[in-house]
C-alpha cells in the first residue's frame, strides 16, 4: 500500500488523478524563492515560458536575464553572479544545459563552487514529438559524475516545487531535472522532500523486491506495485528523487530484506540512477538489479505514451522486470 506516513495523494490510483508537469513546480518554486530572497536571480536561454521561468521573469524583471540562445554564456554569467552573493538559476532544455555548456558548468560553477542551480527541462523520451535531439537522456550521467554537486529529480509537480526551493536554500551547485508533459500528482504539500534522503512510497509485508524509480516514472512503478500485489507479489517502491548525494543508508535498508532490485528511469541505463545504485550496492552489498531505461539507444519522435511503451519503461515493463529479478534470487 501507499506509505501512510508520507501523506501521499489519496486519489493517486483514480482514473481521473490530477496531473501536472514537474516543470510547473519549477516555475512556482522559483517564484517563491524570488519572493523570499532578493538575492535570487534567474537566467534563461530563449525558453522562458517553456521552462516556466516566466512566472519569475514577470514578477522580477530586474532580476531576470534573457540570454538568448547562448547556453555557455548563460552558465558562466550565472557563475559570476553566484560568486557575488547571488543565488542564480539557469534554465533551458537539459540537452542544451548541461549539454552544450557541460565544461563551462564544470569549471565555472562546480569546481568554482558558485551558487548556481542548473534547471534542465524536457528530460527523457517523454519529451515526445520533438525527437531525440530534444530528449535529454544522458543528463543524470553527465551531472552526477561531478564532485560535490547535488542532483534532484522530482517525481511530480509538487515535489518539483519543493526540490526547487530546497536547491535555492543551499549555497552549492544543484542540478534539477524536470519533464515536459503532465503526469500524475503523487505527493501532497505535506509529503517530505529531504535532499539526500529516499522515501519508500509503497510498503508491504515481506516484500520480495525493491523498485527504485526517479521522476514521473515513479507513478508507473507504484501502479506496477499495486497490480503485482494483486498477483501476490509484494514490493517496496522507493522515490529516488535525490540521486546525489546518494542515500546509501536508505538504499541498504530498503533492499536488505528483498535482496532484489528494479531501477526505473527515463534516461539511459548507462550512467543513470540505476548505475549509481549499482555502484553503491557493489561497494556495500551486491544484489541483482534489473534496469529499466533506455538500453543503449536514442529514441525518436512520438507521443510520450508511444515512446515509453516502445522503449520499455511502462507499468508492464516494470512488472516484468520485478518478476525477472525475483527469479534471479535463485
Amino acid at each position: 500500500m501507499l506509505n501512510p506516513n508520507l501523506k501521499l495523494n489519496p486519489k493517486l490510483f483514480d482514473e481521473d488523478v490530477e496531473k501536472d508537469a514537474t516543470r510547473i513546480g519549477f516555475g512556482k518554486g522559483l517564484l517563491k524563492l524570488g519572493e523570499a530572497d532578493p538575492n535570487v536571480v534567474a537566467l534563461c536561454a530563449d525558453l522562458t515560458e517553456s521552462t516556466n521561468a516566466h512566472l519569475f521573469a514577470e514578477k522580477f524583471p530586474e532580476r531576470f536575464f534573457e540570454m538568448g540562445v547562448a547556453e555557455q554564456n548563460m552558465a558562466a554569467v550565472a557563475a559570476g553572479l553566484g560568486v557575488s552573493g547571488k543565488v542564480a538559476f539557469i534554465s533551458s532544455y537539459a540537452t542544451f544545459s548541461p549539454g552544450k555548456n557541460w565544461e563551462t558548468i564544470r569549471t565555472t560553477i562546480v569546481y568554482n563552487k558558485a551558487n548556481v542551480k542548473i534547471a534542465g527541462h524536457h528530460a527523457g523520451v517523454m519529451t515526445g514529438p520533438d525527437g531525440s535531439t530534444h530528449q535529454a537522456t544522458e543528463d543524470i550521467a553527465i551531472t552526477r559524475c561531478w564532485p560535490d554537486i547535488e542532483v534532484y529529480v522530482p517525481c511530480d509537480s509538487i515535489e518539483g516545487e519543493k526540490a526547487t526551493i530546497a536547491a535555492g536554500q543551499i549555497k552549492t551547485p544543484v542540478y534539477l531535472r524536470y519533464s515536459r508533459d503532465k503526469t500524475p500528482i503523487i505527493t501532497t504539500p505535506d509529503t517530505p522532500f529531504t535532499p539526500g534522503k529516499m522515501f519508500d512510497f509503497w510498503v508491504s509485508e515481506n516484500p520480495q523486491a525493491t523498485i527504485f524509480a526517479t521522476g514521473y516514472i515513479l507513478y508507473y512503478a507504484l501502479v506496477a506495485a499495486r497490480e503485482l500485489e494483486n498477483e501476490g507479489i509484494n514490493t517496496t517502491v522507493v522515490n529516488a528523487s535525490t540521486i546525489k548525494p546518494l542515500d546509501i543508508e536508505g538504499i541498504l535498508n530498503y533492499t536488505n530484506q528483498t535482496g532484489a532490485i528494479v531501477t526505473a528511469e527515463d534516461h539511459q541505463v548507462m550512467g543513470g540512477m540505476g548505475s549509481a545504485i549499482a555502484e553503491a550496492l557493489a561497494a556495500h552489498n551486491p544484489l541483482p538489479i534489473e534496469f529499466i531505461g533506455l538500453q543503449n539507444t536514442f529514441a525518436e519522435t512520438g507521443t510520450p505514451a508511444d515512446l515509453i511503451k516502445k522503449y520499455g519503461m511502462d507499468t508492464n515493463a516494470i512488472k516484468e522486470a520485478v518478476k525477472r529479478v525475483i527469479k534471479r534470487k535463485g
Binding site: C44, D46, L47, T48, E49, S50, E66, M67, G68, V69, A70, Q72, N73, T95, F96, G99, K100, G128, P129, D130, G131, S132, T133, H134, E300, T301, G302, T303, D306, L307, K310
Partner: protein, 301 residues
C-alpha cells in the same frame, strides 16, 4: 551557373511556393493530430526560398538522393524542417501523402530532421548553432575530393546567438571558403520574442564583414531577388558569402505574419489573439492561401 529565371519560370515558382504553404498547413494540421506540436512561423517565412532552392537553384536528383555530385542543402535551424519536407515531397523524394505523418510515431518525418531515416536529409539538426560548421565540413570534403558541388547552409537569426556560429564564421573566413553559401532566415523572430529585443544582432551585416565574409541583403520572400542574390554569391571567389534573407515569419497568412507566438505552434492548437478561434485557423489559412494562388495564376500568363 544558374540559368536565367524566365517570367514563366518565376510564375511557376510562385505557384509552387503557394502550393508548398498549403501542403505545409496540411502537414502541420496532421502534426497537431499526431502529437500536438509543430513549427509554423519559420517554415511559412522560408517557403519562397525553399521553393527557389529545390526547383531552381539546387543541382540535385530526387531519384538518386545520394548522387555524389549533388549540391548539398544543410538545414542548421532544424525546427523549420516541415518546409524542407514539403519541398522534398513536391520534388519527388517521397509521396506527398507522407507529409501527413509529420511528427507521428515511427515516421520518417521526425520532429527535427535526422540523417539516415529520410534519404535527402543531409545532417541531423535541431540543437541550434551547429549546421554552419557541419556545412563547412561538407564543403571541405568537396574540396578534398575535387568536386564541384556547392554546399548551401540555411541558418536562422536566433541561432546566431550561439557562439558556435561565430567559431564557424571565423573559420570559413580564414579558409576563404568559396564552394559554400550561407542563407540566413533573418526574420527577427525567436521563441521568447523579437530577436532585436531578446538579444540584438544588429548591426548584423557589419558583424559578418568583420568576420571576413561577403554579405548580400535580400528580400527572402521575393523569389526573383533571391535567385539573383544566389547568382551574385556564386560569383564571389575570394570569401565565403552570406545571403541575409529578410523574411516575414508566418508569411502568407495574415494572422500569423510577424507574430512570434506562431514560432512553434501548429494551427488550431490554441486560441491566439488576433487569429480566428481554434478550430477555424486551418480553414482560414487555407482560404487565404488559395486566394493568393488564384491571384498568382491570374497574373498575366
Amino acid at each position: 551557373m544558374l540559368t536565367e529565371l524566365s517570367k514563366e519560370k518565376l510564375q511557376e515558382l510562385k505557384l509552387k511556393a503557394n502550393e508548398a504553404r498549403q501542403l505545409l498547413i496540411g502537414a502541420l494540421d496532421a502534426a497537431r493530430e499526431n502529437s500536438g506540436a509543430g513549427h509554423t512561423g519559420g517554415p511559412l517565412g522560408m517557403a519562397d526560398i525553399f521553393t527557389a532552392m529545390y526547383f531552381h537553384v539546387l543541382n540535385h536528383n530526387p531519384q538518386d538522393p545520394d548522387w555524389e555530385d549533388r549540391d548539398r542543402l544543410i538545414l542548421s535551424n532544424g525546427h523549420i524542417c516541415p518546409i524542407r519536407y514539403v519541398s522534398m515531397a513536391q520534388s519527388g523524394y517521397f509521396p506527398v501523402e507522407e507529409l501527413k505523418t509529420l511528427r507521428k510515431f515511427e515516421t520518417r518525418l521526425q520532429g527535427h530532421p535526422h540523417r539516415g531515416v529520410l534519404p535527402g536529409v543531409e545532417t541531423t539538426s535541431g540543437p541550434l548553432g551547429e549546421g554552419l560548421s557541419q556545412g563547412i565540413g561538407v564543403a571541405l570534403a568537396g574540396k578534398l575530393d575535387k568536386k564541384n558541388f556547392i554546399t548551401y547552409v540555411l541558418t536562422s537569426d536566433g541561432e546566431h546567438q550561439e557562439g558556435n556560429i561565430w567559431e564557424a564564421a571565423m573559420f570559413a573566413g580564414k579558409l576563404k571558403l568559396n564552394n559554400f553559401i550561407q542563407v540566413i532566415d533573418y526574420n527577427n523572430m525567436q521563441i521568447d520574442g523579437n530577436v532585436e529585443d531578446i538579444m540584438p544582432l544588429e548591426p548584423f551585416r557589419a558583424k559578418y564583414e568583420a568576420f571576413n565574409w561577403h554579405a548580400i541583403d535580400v528580400d527572402g520572400n521575393d523569389i526573383k531577388a533571391f535567385v539573383d542574390a544566389v547568382k551574385e554569391a556564386q560569383a564571389v571567389k575570394d570569401k565565403p558569402v552570406i545571403i541575409i534573407a529578410h523574411t516575414v515569419p508566418g508569411k502568407g497568412i495574415s494572422f500569423m505574419e510577424n507574430n512570434y507566438k506562431w514560432h512553434g505552434m501548429p494551427p488550431d492548437l490554441k486560441d491566439v489573439e488576433g487569429a480566428p478561434p481554434k478550430g477555424e485557423q486551418v480553414k482560414k489559412a487555407m482560404e487565404e492561401l488559395k486566394a493568393e494562388g488564384e491571384r498568382i495564376m491570374n497574373q498575366e500568363s
